[in-house]
Assembly symmetry: C2
């Protein structure tokens, strides 16, 4: 009697289809990928493909939803290090999250959702909720804790502070990465950007040094 949250009983063929399709969609986008290619990649016949999914759209939607779930699971929730000063803690947290956001897989997911979001709005909504909304929620909780502890004395609403931190964190690098213009991203580049964002937030809203 397992209470496991892992999705139970998923057929191997279905799993192979989902994996192969995910790889193709992330790599080439939605349009250029044919059902033939998916079947070939999953080493499955097209009939089997259509036995599991009603069509290309349904397959795509399940891929995105599954990826969103994985995305949420990938970001460790508990990163609060209250031993550090506010700025250092923000910088560490920010570097970790930014590093995640810049992963090629996450950028690829973002790209295909942006591309097909206009056609399938509920898909864009699912991505936005699983991604930015969730992250901002966690940050908001953490900031509220810092404020309660007196290390943050914002004269602006906490949601605005959280949004500004994320905006600063993304910076220009996020834009470039989404466009596919950034090569491999160095860890120090990420850390530098996160530190700049943390410094700005700390100076804007941090408690004055006693």
């Amino acid at each position: 009697m397992s209470l496991s949250l892992a999705p139970p009983e998923i057929s191997p063929k279905r799993r192979a289809i989902l994996d192969a399709a995910a790889e193709l969609f992330m790599k080439e986008g939605f349009g250029p990928v044919s059902m033939d290619a998916v079947a070939r990649g999953a080493q499955v016949s097209k009939a089997t493909l259509y036995a599991h999914f009603t069509g290309k759209d349904a397959l795509f939607q399940e891929i995105i939803e599954e990826s969103c779930q994985k995305m949420q699971a990938l970001v460790p929730q508990a990163l609060a290090n209250h031993a550090q000063p506010l700025e250092a803690a923000l910088a560490e947290l920010g570097a970790h999250w930014l590093g995640f956001l810049l992963r090629p897989r996450v950028r690829a997911l973002h790209r295909v959702v942006v591309a097909e979001g206009a056609r399938v709005p509920e898909l864009a909504q699912a991505f936005y909720t699983a991604g930015p909304v969730t992250l901002r929620g966690w940050l908001l909780d953490w900031l509220a804790g810092e404020a309660a502890r007196g290390r943050l004395q914002p004269d602006a609403p906490l949601p605005l502070v959280a949004e500004q931190f994320f905006s600063l964190l993304r910076g220009d690098l996020f834009l470039r990465a989404t466009l596919g213009l950034s090569g491999p991203i160095g860890e120090e580049e990420v850390r530098t950007l996160a530190e700049a964002a943390a410094r700005a937030i700390a100076r804007l809203y941090g408690a004055p040094p006693a």
Copy 2:
């Protein structure tokens, strides 16, 4: 003997094709648009279409490049209002630019470039140069003027200041709009966001009130 910079002598049919294709690509993305649909929209035969463009990709590329040029022309360069205090000037400038960035056409252009950028890198590069790089360059010049005038005393490199202002300006709204999740965007929403960004930059790097 005109020295006009306007592109000279473009055939009416070619113009019609470019306009019809631009509208279709912005509305539906690259993949779903067929050459048949373009020909129909431009009220031109497919043979004519292929007489002007070697294929769908070439047509698309010319559309994007032309749109990038229009984009640059659309943003007035001279907005510097030195009569206002730094924060007010930044807010006004920011509201104007953000309003431009959030235009449905500009978001649509961004979307298709993101979608096809991985397939055609020079396209993403052209967009990035015509858009973010150009805007940041203008802001940098303006900030340098403010610094020379003593109204800005940044303890960070000016390029970082410019990047942070743009990041704050985009905020979450830009992300939502790119995903197609924002409905019609109110002018006051834009102004509020721009004011918050301007306030942050002014407090971080502005000269202390004498």
